[in-house]
């Protein structure tokens, strides 16, 4: 494996005019040069290997787009270094463009009025894709998804799902080394989401394409990414495997039980019996958050069984969504 993207201590600052309120304020702004510096990306480093699928996560306004724009060459970092496939993206924008594919969930890059196949032919010329590779790619697409009904349909007549699918196919067409996918499943129905995830996975496997995925949908992350990077307020919070993430706040599982009698009263009792667990009760269930580093679920269950008659039980794993939410809200300790 070799590094395809190398980012070393990049920072991006924007100059923003301090705006004043009201009409008088706007008039003053016309002449004022009162800027403040906003640091959108703050000293981020990472290395991404060829063939990885990396989930790039963070709350809105965290600096994800800014980082992507620097990797694609649209923005120049204020300081630090980026190498994408050996290129400095901002200095060799067109050369870099040849090596990457980009998809924005809501913005189609295809020719609006043209049928997909004509867009493909234009892309073939623009990227100078040899006939053999082009045919091979189309054949691969055909084996992965049912593209026949899409090929002769103008992009503007497509549903959002079809359009996203088409955009993804177009981004992979010139067999780029890296594909950036920005919220590819936004606004799509469950079956389309699944289809798109399968497609991305298959293309990554077949072509060994590196995929950088930004998303707010943890389903995408669970289905596709082995590694995730989380940033917030421009700073790197987390860069590691998914497995590590799950155990990030200790290995928690939630045990839910239902007993006869008043749940609240039982919950108070249980809390006394199991001081290392946090216990809460609602109308139907008593929830016991078990830290498996301290006591296993089976031990807890054994303790409970001696004192209470359990009618029903559930066991819940902590979901990626919950972990990410915790990281966004509380940061990393």
């Amino acid at each position: 494996m070799s590094a395809i993207i190398e980012i070393r201590n990049i920072t991006k600052e924007f100059k923003v005019l301090n705006r004043r309120e009201g009409l008088k304020g706007s008039l003053k702004d016309l002449f004022s040069r009162d800027y403040k510096i906003v640091r959108a990306v703050d000293n981020i480093s990472m290395t991404i290997e060829q063939g990885e699928i990396v989930g790039y996560l963070g709350p809105n306004g965290a600096g994800k787009s800014t980082t992507i724009k620097m990797m694609t060459g649209v923005l120049e970092p204020t300081s630090g270094e980026i190498l994408v496939g050996g290129n400095v993206p901002y200095q060799n924008r067109t050369k870099n463009a040849q090596e990457i594919g980009v998809v924005f969930g809501q913005r189609s890059q295809l020719w609006w009025a043209l049928p997909l196949i004509e867009s493909f032919k234009l892309l073939k010329d623009i990227y100078q894709i040899p006939d053999k590779e082009y045919d091979g790619m189309l054949a691969l697409y055909q084996s992965l998804v049912d593209i026949e009904p899409l090929l002769h349909k103008p992009v503007r007549q497509m549903s959002l799902g079809q359009r996203t699918l088409s955009d993804i196919l177009a981004a992979f067409l010139h067999n780029p080394k890296i594909v950036f996918l920005d919220e590819p499943t936004i606004g799509l129905d469950v079956s389309m989401k699944a289809k798109i995830r399968t497609l991305i996975q298959a293309l990554n496997r077949e072509k060994h394409t590196t995929v950088i995925l930004t998303t707010h949908d943890m389903g995408d992350v669970d289905a596709l990414c082995r590694r995730i990077v989380i940033i917030d307020k421009g700073k790197m919070l987390y860069d590691n495997d998914m497995e590590h993430l799950k155990g990030f706040f200790g290995s928690y599982r939630t045990l839910k039980i239902r007993v006869d009698g008043d749940l609240k009263a039982h919950a108070e009792e249980i809390a006394k019996e199991l001081p290392e667990c946090s216990v809460s009760a609602d109308e139907e269930w008593i929830s016991i958050l078990v830290d498996e580093d301290k006591a296993t679920v089976m031990e807890v269950l054994g303790t409970l069984q001696t004192a209470h008659s359990i009618r029903d039980m559930q066991l819940q794993e902590i979901s990626t969504e919950e972990v990410i939410k915790k990281i966004y809200e509380e940061g990393v300790q």
Binding site: F14, N60, G61, S65, K69, T72, G73, V74, L75, R93, T94, K95, A97, Q98, I100, G101, V102, F104, G105, Q106, R107, S108, Q109, W111, A113, L114, E118, K121, L122, D125, I126, Y127, Q128, P154, D182, E183
Partner: protein, 267 residues
């Protein structure tokens, strides 16, 4: 990867154009209505011009047919901007909404890629009308005809069209710096209406502005003098092809500089 020369771009442009025309034809009603609309715009322009000159047989030493020649010249030389660079009108919208970013990811020239997306077929009606007017005026004035003349006309028309393209490019590119840049583009578009008059009818201040600041005098007046008044061609007329090329180059640089500093909106 082959080098991307002019032939590469020409081929791509032709392919995009062919596809674009094909899809435009599929909106037949739209196509017919806009063509008819363009014809009427041109006819009404011509009629108001004609009415004006019914009352003044000549203007500051310029005869009716000479004025008509200028009019035809300006129509032809503003056709390329209409046909090939119409996407400049959408630039502000694209930049404002953030859609412009999609043009930044292709391995081809950004300016070319952006402009290639739209070909406005309505300009062709204007071209036909302009050429008709030019020929009519040419015959009526009794200008001699030779291959050399034709060559001169072609070169001067082409370079004159570059001036208009340059003005529009620079005006459109202002949206990279100014938020409400529509007025800049609109202003330039309105000023081009003065291009069809001989510059000598304006006061010295405007003469200076139209020659050096907003060089619309190079759209029709200066270049057409070469054909119209071959005995007394001013230096500026001979320079007009260079002016056209230089202005176009500068406007291209401005446009690209704006596009490169474009940072997009959040997503």
């Amino acid at each position: 990867m082959q080098k991307k020369g002019i032939r590469f771009y020409l081929r791509i442009y032709c392919k995009i154009l062919a596809q674009d025309l094909k899809s435009k034809m599929s909106y037949r009603a739209d196509f017919i209505i806009s063509t008819v609309g363009m014809i009427f715009t041109n006819i009404s322009g011509f009629v108001s011009f004609w009415i004006l000159f019914r009352s003044f047989p000549s203007l500051n030493g310029w005869s009716y047919y000479e004025m008509l020649f200028l009019y035809g010249f300006s129509l032809v030389s503003i056709t390329p901007v209409q046909c090939f660079f119409d996407n400049n009108w959408s630039l502000r919208q694209n930049v404002y909404s953030g859609d412009f970013i999609k043009y930044c990811f292709r391995p081809i020239n950004l300016f070319f890629y952006y402009q290639s997306e739209v070909f406005d077929i309505k300009g062709l009606g204007q071209l036909a009308f302009g050429i008709g007017t030019l020929i009519y005026a040419w015959v009526k004035i009794g200008l001699p005809f030779s291959v050399l003349m034709l060559l001169k006309m072609t070169v001067f028309l082409l370079t004159a069209s570059l001036v208009m393209i340059a003005l529009q490019n620079a005006a459109a590119a202002s949206c990279f710096w100014i938020e409400n840049s529509f007025y800049v583009l609109d202003l330039v578009c309105r000023f081009k209406d003065y291009a069809k008059y001989p510059i000598t009818i304006f006061s010295p201040v405007f003469r200076f502005i139209f020659t050096f600041l907003m060089p619309i005098a190079f759209i029709a007046y200066y270049p057409s003098l070469v054909v119209l008044r071959p005995d007394a061609v001013p230096l500026l007329s001979w320079l007009s092809p260079l002016v056209g090329i230089a202005f176009f180059f500068v406007s291209y640089k401005i446009w690209m500089r704006g596009a490169m500093k474009y940072s997009g909106t959040g997503s």
